[in-house]
Amino acid sequence: MATQVQAVRMALHVGETRLGVTDIFGEDVGPPLGGVFTATQGLATAWNSPLDERGVIGAAMGLALAGQRPVCEIQFGDYAFNTIDLLKLAGAMHWSSNGDWSLPMVMMTPVGSGIHGSIYHSHSFDAQATRTPGWKVVMPSTPYDTYGLLLSAIVDPNPVMVLLPKALMRVKARPGELIPGEPEDERVLSKMIDAPLGDRSKWRPEWPDTPDIFLPFGKLKRVREGRDVTVVAYGRMVAICERVAEQVAADGVSVEVIDLRSLIPYDWEGLVESVSRTRRLLLINEDTEVTNFGEHLARRVTEELFGELLAAPRVLAGKNLPGIGLSDELEKASVPQASGIEQAVRELAATSIARGASSAPRSRPAAPPRLASAELDHREAFARAYAVR
């Protein structure tokens, strides 16, 4: 039963042995460490680079231009901001040359908060990633999806970013989500592919025989069916939304939870199908809320499904702050928490905009008790901080 970080490793092993991956590299990616999260332990093509993020992305681009299949790692998504110029160039390589070149490269990077990573180990990258045209962007929330999406990234002819929620790195797969071929017992898997402590010079991993699984990009996963509100999340927020859905179900609020998984391209048809049924939409992610990817989806749903909605789409995202503070209270106040999600869900479920006779609400859930509105407080705080003076 793999963790996310073990799933990355197993996918990369398949990549380098069967799918033509030539280079897995980045800062501390090669032996002896095998990555600060151990995502690249025991891999034959893993090597250490200088501590130079622009060099890492640039070298991956050069390798791809030369017909190689590179997978590079930016140690923390926070440090990918250093490379944005090159990411833009990579995304433009095929387009600006009018199709003359393609650039098959994978960049993987741990993102988001939840490990008390302070200002430079907590930032999200999905807002930036999704506004870098020419890149495909995925953000898996389970070991199985990580495995399948990473393999799809490896064989894609375009640059693909695999954003790995760092708080999920050590979270184990749930029952029924095994990668075919991996041992069910986590201790057995660990013995096979986790590097031992101490001297590793003689250690060789024993890889389980796992198949080529290519999860398609642009296909969402419905993790919980519901009737009243569609909650769209990805990465670390998915499991939190599932718990909230469980909680409010006791009060008769039926929440559909969607794991978007693939941000670019995204599953618009799947979103339309769900929102057309629930007629209410809540978008959750950790990145800062101004020019946020959830805003794009909210805009599009508003434009294209306005007549079907019973409530204005809501976006609950990271606060528009320069950083995420170290203290537990500061971190909790900066990114969406279960309590805020629950409140937003209950408020949405209780809202039914008056419509003409032809579009009367089908079923109206009971109004929730009025909660202490942290969300309203936030709106006031935002208005104060960003007021034109």
């Binding site: 640039g58 050069g62 390798l63 231009l65």
Partner: protein, 360 residues
């Protein structure tokens, strides 16, 4: 560790064979006349922006003549910049294609009307897309060079930028990445130094005596040359490339050049007085050696000018790209570099821009 900086060459370079010098001259002349035509087109409204390399022809032509041209790891990879048109001409590019890019026509083979003049992309010759940032090529070059080191053979990576671009971090990236101990890469780093960054004199921003000195700290063999002399440029490039090809190690070559029409059309693109003109210099040699007389030189220039004027008139009438084609090539449908089939459909239902499938 390599001897870092070779002493400046005291003696005259070994003269080039007559036919080589004549070929260089003809290419340099074509390059100059092409740049003058591009400038004229921009000034006449047949292009939005000009940037190019008049004044660098001696060096850039020599480079193009010495390149091992071809596709794939066995041949040279080129990460050039926006002053490299004469290199491409010397490699065999059609000057009319540069006119097409100036006029941003649909027929522009480098970018289909998407990019500025001087921003070529030629995959069949390993010429990576040239972009406007002055430094990014120095971060990409170690990647192709690494692949070539692994492949073996004699193919090398050539990366070129100007002196101002060496202030960017990517130049330091390249120095570091091509000289990792035990992993030295076959990369020829070229800095064409015209002593200006747009309007700013290098001497007001750079304290280093010579840019090539920066190779020293990394054990990179380095040299500064007078690239206004065609024979110096050719011989020094020949030597540097021989070293990189056979030793499979990096070389940093700083080539002193002139900038005869300023930075770009933004600074007027007018002839600058007081700079050495490499074309005048090579023509002096040809006259001194009795290889071409003044009348012949003048006639050649007139003829090439006439040919490119006629070509420009034809290009102006070629179609512009249609607006809807902006959606072409956002994503690659297949790997054109390796020609690999894709074993799965990652395109969200096969649409080219699947997240913008409606109402756009």
């Amino acid at each position: 560790m390599e001897a870092a900086v070779l002493p400046p060459r005291e003696s005259q370079p070994r003269p080039l064979p007559d036919e080589t010098l004549l070929r260089m001259h003809e290419l340099m002349l074509t390059g100059r006349v092409l740049e003058e035509r591009l400038i004229r087109m921009q000034k006449q409204g047949d292009g939005y922006f000009w940037i190019g390399g008049p004044g660098e022809e001696a060096f850039n032509v020599a480079l193009g003549m010495l390149v091992d041209r071809g596709e794939g790891l066995a041949h040279d990879y080129l990460h050039l910049h926006y002053r490299s048109s004469a290199t491409l001409l010397a490699m065999g590019a059609d000057p009319v294609d540069a006119l097409r890019q100036m006029k941003n026509t649909a027929t522009d083979p480098y970018s289909g009307g998407r990019n500025f003049a001087g921003h070529a992309s030629i995959r069949r010759w390993n010429v990576a897309p040239i972009s406007s940032p002055i430094e990014v090529q120095f971060s990409m070059a170690p990647g192709t060079a690494l692949a070539q080191k692994r492949y073996g053979g004699r193919g090398i990576t050539i990366v070129q930028g100007g002196d101002a671009g060496t202030a960017e971090g990517d130049f330091a990236t390249c120095l570091i990445w091509v000289s990792r101990p035990g992993n030295e890469l076959p990369c020829l780093m070229i800095v064409t130094n015209n002593e200006y960054g747009i309007s700013t004199p290098a001497a007001t921003q750079h304290g280093e005596a010579r840019i090539s000195d920066r190779g020293r700290a990394f054990g990179i063999r380095s040299k500064t040359i007078d690239a206004n002399d065609a024979e110096v440029a050719y011989r020094e490039l020949e030597e540097a490339m021989r070293y990189v090809r056979t030793e499979r190690r990096p070389f940093l070559l700083e080539a002193r050049v002139s900038r005869l029409y300023g930075h770009s059309s933004s600074s007027g693109a007018n002839l600058v007085k007081g700079e050495v003109d490499c074309l005048v210099e090579i023509e002096k040699k040809l006259e001194e050696r009795g290889l071409r007389g003044r009348a012949e030189l003048d006639a050649m220039r007139a003829q090439k000018t006439e040919e490119l004027l006629a070509a420009a008139r034809r290009v102006i009438a070629e179609p512009q790209p249609e607006g809807h084609t902006v959606w072409d090539h956002v994503f690659a449908e297949r790997d054109v570099v390796q020609q690999n089939p894709i074993p799965c459909d990652n395109h969200g239902g096969g649409r080219r821009t699947p997240w913008l499938d409606q109402a756009h």
